[in-house]
Amino acid sequence: MSQKIPFGYHSRSAFRRVVRDSRGAAAVEAAMTFPVLIAMMLGMLEMYFYMEASHRVTAAAQLTADLVGRQATVNNGTGPASSTPMSAIFSASLVMLSPMPVSSSVPTTSNSTNPAIDVASILFANPTVTTNNLSCSASTTGPATGESNGVANYCHGIDWELAVGGATAKANTTAVYTNFVNGCTASNLTACYCVLTSASIGNPVPFCVAGQSIIYVRVDYTYTDPIAFFFPIFLGSNQIVISESAFVTPRQVTYVPLCTTASSSSCA
C-alpha cells in the first residue's frame, strides 16, 4: 500500500521555499515601493500646479478689483470718453491669468468664457435716500436682527453689477445690516466700520459707511489638471472651478458709477 501524499504537499513546499528564499528581496521591495514613490511625486506636482493656478486666480481677482477701484467712471460698451471701458479691464484679467489657458474672446454679458467674472459695486446708503440705482426706502429696511423695532437701519445694495462670461450674478435688490460688531450701533453707523454678513455675496463685507461703496470682484476659472492622476480619483474629474473673490474700496471717488450712454448723466 503506497503512502498517501497529502493534497497540496508539493505546492505547499514550493510556496514555503519561495517564501523563505530571500534572494531578490530588495528588488521586490523596491518594485513595491517605487509606484508609491512615483505616485507621491506626481501627486506633489499635481498639487503644485493646482496651488499655482489658485494663486494666479487670486492675484487676478485682486488686480482686477484694484483696476476697477482706480477708475473714476466705467462703462460697459458706451460711455463718455473719460470713462474706462470694462472690456479693457476684462481683457487685462485674461492677461493676469496667463500663461494658463483662457478663452480666446474677452468675456461679455452675452458670451460664455473661461474665466467668468462677476464685478459689482455695492453701495451703502441711508434708508430714506435714493442714491443712483439703489433705492432705500423705509419700507425696504426692517429692523435688523437683534435690534429693537424702529431703529433706523442703513441699507446696502448692488449699485450695478456686470456678470460676464457666464458668471452667476450675486445681485439682489436691497438688504439690511444684520450684524453690528466692534461697538457699532445703529446711531453711530456712519462713523464706525462694521462687518456685514451677506448671504447674497457669501463673504463678510468689511466696510459699510453710508454714502460709500465697495467693489466686489469674483473670478471663476475652470482649471484643467494637466497630469490627471489624483484629481480624477478624488474629484471624479480632472477639472475644478477655482473661484476667488476680492473686495476693494474705490480710490478716486466714493463710488464708481457705471455709464450706459455717451452722456455723462447716464453714469450712476
Binding site: A25, P99, V106
Partner: protein, 252 residues
C-alpha cells in the same frame, strides 16, 4: 622543478574552495541589490527636492516681480532716473532718510548726503536706462538672493514691461489698446521675455511679464514644465516661471 602548468593547477586548487564560498555567500546580496536600485531612488529623491526648490523660486520670483512693478507704479523708478539726470554728479540722490518718504529732494540735500544709494536701495546713474534699473530692482527685491543672487540668479531674469498713458478711449499720446492681450509682449527664441522697458514716464497703465528661468540640477525634470531645453543633450532643463500683471499707476 615544478612546471608552470602544475603551479596553475595548484593555485586553482587552493582558490577553488574560496571562490565557491564567495559565490554561495548570500549575506551581502541585499546590499548589492540596493546599490543597483540606488540611482533610481536617488533620481526620484533629487527630483522631488529639485521641484521643491523650483516652487520656492517661483514664490520668490513672484514677490520680486510684484515689488519691482510696484516701483514703476508709484513712480519711484521715474523719480530716481530724473534725479540722476538732473544732478551734476549724474547720480540719484541719497535718500536713506526722510527724503524717501515724500520730502522734496533737492540738489542741496544731495550735496550733503552720502551719494551711495537712494530710495530704491541702489545707485542709479544718469547712464542707466529704465530697463537696467528694473533689472536691478528685480535683483534687489529677492529676499534670499539679495544683490549677489545667492539663490535666484539675477542673470536668469527677463522682463517685458510696456506702459501706456491712458485707457483706450481716453485722450493721451499713447493710449492702451482696446484689448490688452494685444500688447506686444515679446519673447526670444528660448521662450523668455525680451528684456525691455522704455522710459515709463508718467505711466498710467502698466502691462508686465516677468520671466525667470529656473535651472534644474536633476536631468529631464524640466520636461514636466515644458522647458525649452528638454531633450537637448548636454543642456540643463529649465522651468520657465512667469509673472503677469496689469496695474494702474498711482498718481505721482
Amino acid at each position: 622543478m615544478i612546471s608552470a602548468r602544475r603551479m596553475v593547477q595548484r593555485a586553482v586548487g587552493v582558490l577553488r574552495p574560496l571562490l565557491g564560498r564567495a559565490r554561495a555567500e548570500r549575506s551581502g546580496a541585499t546590499a548589492v541589490e540596493f546599490a543597483l536600485l540606488l540611482p533610481a531612488l536617488a533620481y526620484l529623491i533629487f527630483g522631488v527636492v529639485d521641484m521643491g526648490l523650483m516652487m520656492f523660486a517661483s514664490e520668490e520670483m513672484d514677490l520680486a516681480a510684484s515689488e519691482a512693478v510696484r516701483e514703476i507704479r508709484t513712480g519711484a523708478v521715474q523719480a530716481a532716473l530724473a534725479q540722476a539726470n538732473s544732478n551734476s554728479s549724474g547720480q540719484s540722490l541719497y535718500a536713506g532718510d526722510s527724503n524717501c518718504i515724500g520730502a522734496t529732494t533737492t540738489v542741496a540735500n544731495f550735496a550733503t548726503s552720502n551719494a551711495t544709494t537712494n530710495c530704491l536701495g541702489f545707485t542709479v546713474n544718469s547712464t542707466d536706462t529704465a530697463s537696467t534699473v528694473f533689472g536691478e530692482l528685480l535683483c534687489h527685491t529677492v529676499p534670499v538672493g539679495g544683490t549677489t543672487g545667492a539663490f535666484l540668479n539675477c542673470n536668469n531674469f527677463n522682463w517685458d514691461v510696456q506702459t501706456y498713458g491712458c485707457w483706450p478711449n481716453q485722450t493721451c499720446s499713447n493710449p492702451a489698446p482696446t484689448d490688452l492681450r494685444t500688447v506686444a509682449l515679446t519673447y526670444n527664441s528660448s521662450g523668455n521675455p525680451q528684456t525691455f522697458l522704455t522710459s515709463p514716464g508718467s505711466a498710467a497703465i502698466i502691462v508686465a511679464v516677468i520671466g525667470y528661468k529656473y535651472p534644474f540640477f536633476t536631468p529631464l525634470i524640466g520636461c514636466f514644465f515644458d522647458g525649452p531645453d528638454c531633450g537637448v543633450p548636454g543642456k540643463q532643463t529649465t522651468a520657465p516661471l512667469r509673472y503677469y500683471a496689469v496695474v494702474q499707476a498711482e498718481p505721482f
